[in-house]
């Protein structure tokens, strides 16, 4: 199943913002998924087309078959690579959301009470 981008967790007021290119990442995931699907279609279609040229024999056919084998091998591997990269970007987005949640939580917690005793350990001239 194609990877899907999670909904973005927005930063609350005063929270640190987790840096992530949401729009570009979403567009990239869509493009990667589409390309991976297209590669799958290519491989299926070409596999169906191949028997139509079974009559073709000779030196050039041999050369064709060698190139065909190499290219379809590359295509199969690349399909997986594109799918994996799309998933990795989605994981990155989830990581950014998780960080944002932590930043938001920190921003929402009340500040600790101010200390009444003078700091010590350092001799600050006045």
């Amino acid at each position: 199943m194609a990877a899907e981008m999670p909904a973005k967790v927005e930063a609350v007021a005063g929270a640190t913002v987790a840096d992530f290119p949401w729009a570009d990442a979403a567009a990239a995931v869509t493009a990667l998924n589409t390309a991976a699907r297209s590669l799958g279609t290519q491989l299926d279609s070409r596999s169906t087309m191949l028997p139509t040229i079974v009559d073709w024999v000779g030196t050039y056919r041999d050369e064709f078959d060698r190139a065909y084998g190499r290219i379809t091998g590359t295509a199969s591997g690349l399909k997986e690579t594109l799918t994996t990269l799309a998933s990795s970007i989605v994981s990155g987005a989830e990581g950014a959301n998780q960080a944002q949640r932590i930043y938001n939580q920190a921003a929402l917690e009340p500040d600790p009470p101010a200390s009444t005793t003078r700091r010590s350990g350092r001799n600050i001239p006045v």
Partner: protein, 686 residues
Amino acid sequence: MATSSANPFKLGRYSSDGLALGAALKTQADAVAGKLASLRGSGSPYLPALGEPDATLTDLAGDWHHLDEFAGDVANAFFQANQNLGERPMSQEQLDAMVLSMGDESILRLGHVGYADRDAASAAANQLTQDIRAAMEDGISTDELNGLADRATRGQFDPAFAVTFVEGMGVDGMVRIPALVEAAWPGGEYGDNPGWGQDRLLPFATILTTAMDTRAATPQIDRHDPDNQNLADGDRLNEDWVREFTGFWQPDDFDQPNNLHYSLLVKNAALPSDVLVDVANRHLDYLLAHDATPTGYMNSIPWGINDSMAEINILDALGANQDASLDWLGMKNPGDGTIYYPGRTATNMEMLLRYHPNTIDPILGDALATVVENGLQHWEGTESDALFEIVIDTVGDQDTVHFDELLPTLGEGARTHMDQLADRTHEVMPSAVGNVDENAQQGLYNAHDFLKVLMDDDDAANSVYRGSLEFVQDTLNSDTGDGFGGESRQIGGLMGLVTEADENARVEATEARIAARQSFLDGVGLVKDVVGLVPVAGQTASSAISIGSFALDQAIDNFGMSGLEGAVDQDYANMANVRDGIRAELTSATAAYEYGVRGTWTSGEVIDATNAALGSSVAQGMDTDFFADGTSGDRRPIKPYAEMSADERRAYNEWLNSDPVGDAVSGDRTAAGQRMDEVIDSLEHR
């Protein structure tokens, strides 16, 4: 010999279906590349390492495109070898069952087949580059050169192979390849094995052609393989390489890549027109501007008499490309690096016509003539017309053509552009306007002087007369039925110009020349038949002529032939007789126009006028009916003059001299004769 078998229809279908799939994938590859490029600009710590899957995908799309092209090229080879295949009516079952066989060498040659695997093509090109560079350093035997040429042949049509090889060799490396061929020449000299080197050089030149074919800038009409239009930008020849190539110039250094070897590559390649124009400007400008004489490489002919002069090789390449010839001839500024840069005022056409080297080499003359012919006969009428105006004024001004080989070419140019010469007789005439600008008639004078130069050559003179006759026919064909006056004036003006130029050329009245004059006059004589054949009141001349102009077409087709058959009328040696004949024929044609096209008279009125003109001179039993036999009514067609009996001709001529005809045609006849006389008078009293 190895053979291959295939069903070309199925293979062709596989190729086109595969290319469609590949095109869709390329779109996806472009999208992925664009999106990942945007992500790469981000510094987010949450993004994964992106790697380069976009580059791999783009490469894959290119590989598939290349493989599908390969299958299509093999299919095309079968179609090329069986060109009537598509014309046979066959059922789908028959088409599917068909399997053809042919030799692999023929497949390579006819299908322009490259490598199936693009990576293999690039690897083979890289290996060939390395081996050629090593041979340039270490020397080479004939057998070794043959081996390299065979490997070049294998990849010559493959765009990936070609771009990799050409860019790998660099411009200087490519230019040194002819020198490598020269070094391997069996026997050591051209005469030992004529043409050997050209055959070995050809695949390397074809590689250059294929590489140039991959450019996005290559005009579509110049592209040898339309599929190269759709290559990815990264698979195209770099334009910087092209600029370096067109800027190459190394005239005299025999130890370096030099102009002779460069020109051999250019001549044997088929470069796109824009590249060829730049090459021609760079390599011909010095020659034309300095009236330099092309000399053989090291004053010898290492590549044979036809291929050993750099500038002639460049001219030959230009002559093989009509578009490039046209563009180059019309250019004034030959570009950066040439001696007249910037701001030369003369076009290359004018430079070429004024080019006058000390030694007139017929091979050079032929090469120049081919380029000029390309320009003057080009289908781009406006640009070609502009070139012809330059020709008239340049040749007219210098009153000569320096290369005899140009004369027949310019004669045919005059034939094609005869309307422009006729237009120059429309310039202001002294009789028409009081105070004329003396320069106003310079165009007419140049036209006369140009034609006078052509009249020195029998072939060119023949073309001029033949073109004049065609002009007569075209002028009549364009008639709109509003009278013969305008047409006859145009024709009269051209007749005056041509006959005056012929007379002033003072050439010997050879059989061929007299034959041309006679054919011309005979052709003008046919005009009266043409317009008189189908008399329908209100009908325009063009519809009548379209039916009746067969005889005139024949006269044009057989132009000048009567002289070769020994049937020349020696009266036509005298120009005054030729002019009298033209005047009489124009009068006759005008009368025929009144009867045949305008319907001024009925057939009965024509007979009455004829009998009145004959008066008492008509003999008993004389046949004065010069209409077509077996016709009746008021609109009988006049019999073609050649088919009339002696009596009928006499009667016909009397009719032409009759009062009704005189009254009707006097205006047009006078206008034609007057324009003819005006032109002659103007030229004789300049």
